[in-house]
Every structure is written in C-alpha cells, then in structure tokens.
Symmetry: C2
Subunit: 103 residues, 2 copies
DNA sequence: ATAATAGTTCGGCATTATTGAACTGTTGAA
DNA sequence: TTCAACAGTTCAATAATGCCGAACTATTAT
C-alpha cells in the first residue's frame, strides 16, 4: 500500500517548485488538475503515450514540490491540486505560470 | 571573438524559461541584473566559489531562455536583463518569481 | 612581444531522467 | 474463495544533462 508523503509548503524551496513546473508534461497535468479538481493518475496524464512509470515519477515530483496531494481511493490514487496552500506559499506564481501556458 | 545568439522571445517556450529560472545560482544572477542593469559575467556571479566554466554555462542558458542579452565591451561581456521583452512574452512571470525569491 | 585579464569551449565524470519489467494491493467475476 | 484484471509503485539499467578543470581565444596593459 503506497503511503505518500506530502511536504509542508514552507519547506518547499522555490527552485524545486519551478523545476516541477518546468516540464511540459508535468505542467499539463497541473493545468488539468487546476481545471478538474480530482483526477486519478491515468486521468491526469497529458497523453496516452507516456509510460506508467514515467507518469508515476512525474506525480512524485509534483508531490515533492507541494503542488499536489495524493490519496488512495480503492485501487486508484486520487490527485488534487494544493492550490490554496501553494498560492499562499508562492503568491502569484502558479497563476502566472498557468496563464502563460501554451494552449 | 564570441558572437552571442539571442533568441526572439516568441521563440522561447515557457518550459525553457522556467527551467532557466529553476536554479538558485541562475535566479540569483537574474535578480542581480534586475537590480543593477549592466553587469559583467563575473560581477553577475552569485558568489566567488562558482567556477568560470559553470558560470559561463549558466549565462548561456539564460541567454537561450531570452532572459539576458550579452554584448562584448572590450574584454568583458556585459549582460543586461531583457526585462521588457520577457515581460511582454510572459506577463507577470518574472515578477512573481523574483517576488518569491528567498532573501 | 609578454603577461594579465575575461570569458568560452571541450571532454570526462557525476548526477538526473526515462522506461521496461517485476511487484503490491484492490476490485469484480466465476 | 480463487482468479484475473486493474491502478500504480518500485527497481535497475540505459539515456540524457549538468558540472567543472584544463586548454584556448581575444583584448588590454606593460
């Protein structure tokens, strides 16, 4: 049973947050979660072609950056954006990034 | 004589810009340039301990991300932030990043 | 000319990222 | 119940990046 560790936002350095967002696939996942609230890992995936293990790693990185929270629900893992906490930690950052994301 | 290539900002993808900013040393350099306008490479360096070749690479990356412009002046290279252009390309992004940078 | 300065480039090593394969745990069906 | 399918994770090997010492280029000063 996977037990996920979620950092306190005050322990997340800016560099880590930027690095997490500095990848097209991860950013696409964040954008999806910003729009859809709750998504399983596969549903959060930006496309079908990305391997499961890669997807899992991306989500782990997003967790470590304080961007998402993952909880188990049956056999799927439900991911949600930690929007309020992240915005409090890094005011304006996520908004600016999402606003500048290519369509 | 090094001839630097500076991308058009519309050709800079968001990922590249974020990646350039997602490093403490590079971000510190950007912050310096935001405060000081014109700096040679060594003056832009965040600390004395960082090797020249590493510094040069960081600056190359910042150039590629459209963040700085480098011109030769005698034997030094003068770096300036392409602030207006960058802000036009990614509104609010650099401001948010700099505002959230640790002291 | 020579030496010092400012920085780039190159090449090798170290770190990080990607991904197939094997594994854990959960649900639904026979 | 067992069995198979499903959702994801973990591991290990390979691929791709990053870092930095050493050698190099160009400029200025002596």
């Amino acid at each position: 049973m996977p037990r996920f560790t979620h950092p306190r936002l005050e322990d997340v350095p800016l560099d880590l947050a930027l690095h997490a967002l500095a990848d097209p696939n991860r950013l696409a996942m964040v954008a999806r979660l910003a729009a859809t609230e709750r998504l399983s890992c596969t549903d959060a995936a930006p496309c079908e072609s990305i391997p499961k293990s890669t997807l899992s790693n991306h989500l782990k990185l997003l967790r470590a950056a304080g961007l998402i929270e993952t909880t188990q629900a049956g056999r799927e893992m439900i991911n949600t954006l930690r929007r309020a906490e992240f915005d409090q930690r890094f005011p304006g950052l996520l908004g600016a990034v999402l606003a500048n994301r290519p369509a």
